[in-house]
């Protein structure tokens, strides 16, 4: 007896599969032709702050630089030296450095790559009577010779969980959430 396929059932399954495929997202980009093993030193530029918290970008950039240096895989230039390099190439637009600026900056600072970042969320969010800390950061690595993006990743951590809604408590401390997000970014870089 030949098995009959139900066209309606197939339609429903197809819709579900298409929907799930749309949900799948990959927030990491690696330039396939880039030899990441050749990178020895990087400069982390000041991050852009799109959050409502003053100094959020400075905080995240500083912790990111320290944690990247602590991996021992890359040498990260001190912030004062990066500031000196920026002063030599002129003002960098909020949207990030141009290709020429990346090349000039990398040459001035003698680094293999430049890292830029954007802090999109930083601080407490509220939903009803519940609040918790959240952070959302995206980071890009620009290569020195052609100024192109060779790695890009983003991470969002914290936020209101079911536990927070049921028990309260205000979520994790902001600093812990930030460290968690930076660890996630570093996992994406070295993973």
């Amino acid at each position: 007896m030949k098995r009959q396929w139900n066209p309606y059932g197939m339609l429903v399954v197809s819709v579900i599969l298409v929907t799930l495929a749309g949900c799948a997202s990959d927030d990491v980009y690696f330039e396939p032709n880039m030899d990441f093993g050749s990178l020895q030193s990087v400069a982390v530029l000041p991050f852009e702050n799109l959050s409502s918290q003053d100094k959020a970008a400075e905080r995240v950039r500083d912790a990111f630089s320290s944690m990247l240096l602590a991996t021992g895989a890359l040498y990260v230039l001190p912030p004062g030296e990066v500031a000196r390099g920026i002063s030599t190439v002129g003002r960098i637009a909020k949207e990030g450095p141009s290709v020429e600026q990346v090349q000039k900056l990398a040459a001035a600072l003698n680094v293999d790559a430049i890292i830029t970042g954007v802090v999109m969320e930083y601080g407490p969010i509220r939903s009803g009577a519940t609040s918790a800390n959240v952070i959302s950061v995206s980071v890009k690595m620009l290569e020195k010779t052609n100024g192109l993006v060779v790695w890009s990743a983003s991470s969002t951590k914290g936020g209101i969980t079911v536990w927070d809604r049921l028990v309260g408590g205000g979520g994790e401390p902001m600093n812990d959430v930030m460290v968690e997000a930076i660890n996630d970014l570093l996992d994406k870089l070295f993973g």
Binding site: K55, E58, R59, D62, A63, S65, S66, M67, L69, A70, G72, Y75, V76, L77, P78, P79, G80, E81, V82, A83, R84, P173, N175, V179
Partner: protein, 488 residues
Amino acid sequence: MICSTSSSGRAAGHRALLALALLLPSCALWSQQAAAPLECGSLTSDSDGRPATRPTSIRWSASCSGGSGDLVYEWKSLGDSAEIIEQVGPSPTWDWSPIRAGTFRVMVTVEDSTGARVGSDWSEPIVILPAAGAADLIAVLPAENLTGWIAPVDTVDELLRARFVDRGFRLVDDATLASFMERHRIRDTGGVTSRMARASKDELGAGAVLVTSLELFRDAAPPRVALFARLVSSGDQPEIAWMDSVGMSGDGHLGLLALGRIGAAGILLEKSIDCLTASLARSLPELVAERAPLDPRGEPVECDSQGEVVALPPGEVGKRRYRPQTAFRAPLIDSSRRYSVAIVPFANATDRKYAGTLIGLHFINQMVRNEHLTVVEPGLVREALLENRVIMRAGPSLENAEALSSDETLGVDLVLSGTVFDYQDSLGTPKVEFSVNIIERSTLKVVWASHSYNTGVDGVLFFGLGTVHTAHQLASRMARGTFEVMTR
């Protein structure tokens, strides 16, 4: 014929080479047997064992003989708690400039080219007296106001002077000091410059200058007071002879039924100044009675709510919660070596005025107690920054670090700087967040990077037990935690 001659000549050459090859190892064996064993006699110094007053230079000489090849001498000093490698090289003499007061012993270890090592015995103890002593005349500079608000600095000065006189210190009188400051156009009283140090020695006859910084004075409930004080020697080489700090809150030690509550900032200020003067008295060897039963060197101390200097409870040292959340230390740092460090004011990313200066002072206060470090007086760092026209927006660049550390300016091995992101000390729970960077002179590389964040209620679970009430106490513990990880 020619061939046979050549062949026989080659054979003769081979025989000669073989004979030489057999002879050489035996020669080597003979030379090893012939070399006299490496040995060292007792050390001699030009101080003849007499106590010396800092700054001083003592020449030590080793009389070692024997061994083969060049000898390498490793000079070590043993202070109150730490054994430090002071000099390694071919020189059998060492010019020692002790960086702190105390009782020291010295030894040398010699190694020859074959790897044979022999060490001398430890020398007889030699006493090094501090650059500034209890008998010296002290110039008490007007307190620097780092509160960011109007504060009773005059009251601080009066109390300090009164307590110092009570404890038997000799002070430069007010009128003479005011005239001296006017003559030299001294406006910044937060540090001692080289010019000020020389002039205070030559013109005032002062052996030391006391620098006081008022960090916090809050009269509203709960009152809070925080102070730093340091004694800087005068003369050609100004250096920090003593430093301590106090941070007190009215609700710091409530006790049973909150009977220990202090309701006025004035009382806290008096207790703080009592505590600082007691701490200074304990640090001067001439006032031995004041020191008993605590040893001021090597043992961490702090002021309690009664205005007394006490040893830190063992549990307070090394609490993990005050260590940095992220830290990097390059292998370039050798924990057995001695380093000199210049602490540059931290970049201030907070709304709290002078937060960068305050965190810098906390680090000086921790580092000045370590035997492996020589911390440059902040007044000299400020002077070097001004003379080199160094303007730092985000900490020192490598160029700045090189300029500061060169022998023409400060001549230090390490330049410590950082950024303060939070220093909440006036209202509510104290919060402190900062990052630290250290650049090493020879490589111009970052050898330390860390990020620290804490609040006054970290780890507090029941009834507020373990709450830290002032940002001063919190920052002090965080600086200590960072420094502990740094030197571990």
